[in-house]
Symmetry: C2
């Protein structure tokens, strides 16, 4: 007997179709560049229905932006809190998890950072509240401090180290079009690079900071 359910699942409901379409368009073109018409076309509906589901472009954007930012600092906290893992295992786990996330959604980092960069106001500032990230920040910094005291890593500025980790994992997804054009590597080659990159980056970091007598 034919499984009807599967067909229905593929043809998701309208709200989900709109959200998918909106993400595709807005992630790619940004808020200012995205057109409601493009989103409607992508979803296979018309503009009126778009406004029926989401009152305005602003509301639609806020919803998408909020969800996207939620992914920016995900499992970091739990990884750095885990007492089972030494500092090197933490770094490896972070890079694997972080880069893996962006391989699945390579447009998200540029979208979030760009929108926040060009609209520090606009009612999205609260999503990056200092207090909200206090736990993560403190877990990471204290892990570095502890490892340094234990002479597992050399003395190093923890803020720069944190920034280095984020830079190495995040930037390739923001600079990929330019990097591809400049180096001349293909999309396929770039994907391969990203697959290696979690390992490459964590070893690069560890080689730099591990304690040597």
């Amino acid at each position: 007997m034919v499984n009807k359910k599967k067909i229905v699942e593929v043809d998701e409901n309208t709200e989900e179709r709109i959200l998918s379409a909106a993400k595709k368009v807005i992630f790619s073109k940004g808020y200012a560049g995205a057109r409601m018409q493009d989103i409607a076309d992508e979803a296979g509906i018309n503009k009126a229905l778009l406004h029926y589901y989401f009152r305005s472009k602003d509301k639609l954007f806020e919803m998408i932006f909020k969800e996207a930012t939620g992914k920016l600092m995900p499992q970091i906290s739990s990884i750095f809190r885990d007492p089972q893992l030494d500092i090197f295992a933490k770094i490896r786990a972070f890079c694997r998890s972080y880069i893996g996330t962006w391989m699945e959604q390579p447009y998200v980092p540029m979208f979030v950072l760009y929108e926040f960069h060009s609209n520090p106001n606009k009612g999205i500032a609260h999503l990056f509240d200092k207090e909200k990230f206090k736990p993560i920040r403190e877990e990471v910094l204290s892990a570095f401090g502890t490892a340094s005291k234990k002479k597992q890593i050399r003395p190093v500025d923890p803020y720069h180290l944190f920034l280095n980790m984020i830079s190495l994992c995040l930037f390739p997804f923001m600079g990929s079009p330019v990097f591809k054009a400049v180096t001349g590597i293909s999309d396929k080659q770039f994907d391969l690079m990203m697959q290696q990159r979690a390992h490459e980056v964590s070893e690069f970091i560890i080689e730099s900071i591990k304690y040597r007598k």
Copy 2:
């Protein structure tokens, strides 16, 4: 006697005023988000005069974008070609020069990478031609290869290493608003970090790759 010249110099000619204003607005808001009215206001003129000097928004954008991309891979080639410098001196010179450039124009990296990210078409693709960057690319990669052969640095994938260098120098200027919000550091503290960063990054890289028996 009063020096009239100085006053005139401060009050630059209209074309330059427009270009300055356009950069300020477009770097910050991006092409799609920038408004001709905003640029006119910023320059202290009106829209009509804007179109008198630059035929269209597109022309204005192309001019600004072209100039900005010219700064993306600047002195890299000469640094990596210089036979006076060993690989470590090259890396230090690169970081110092590269980060110094962005400290003066912190909006440029995000602008260039974002526009190229969201408009791989639009007649700006040719500015990132593979052939154009061939010399730079080959200088850098061959410098790494040579240093590796001479056992000055450990064996390492040169493409990842190149990407690491760019990531560490460029990302902080793209992620600065989020980084400031998440860490809670002030603008002044962030500027201080960036002043240390050329040294911090080059030592971070060198510690990671220098050959050890």
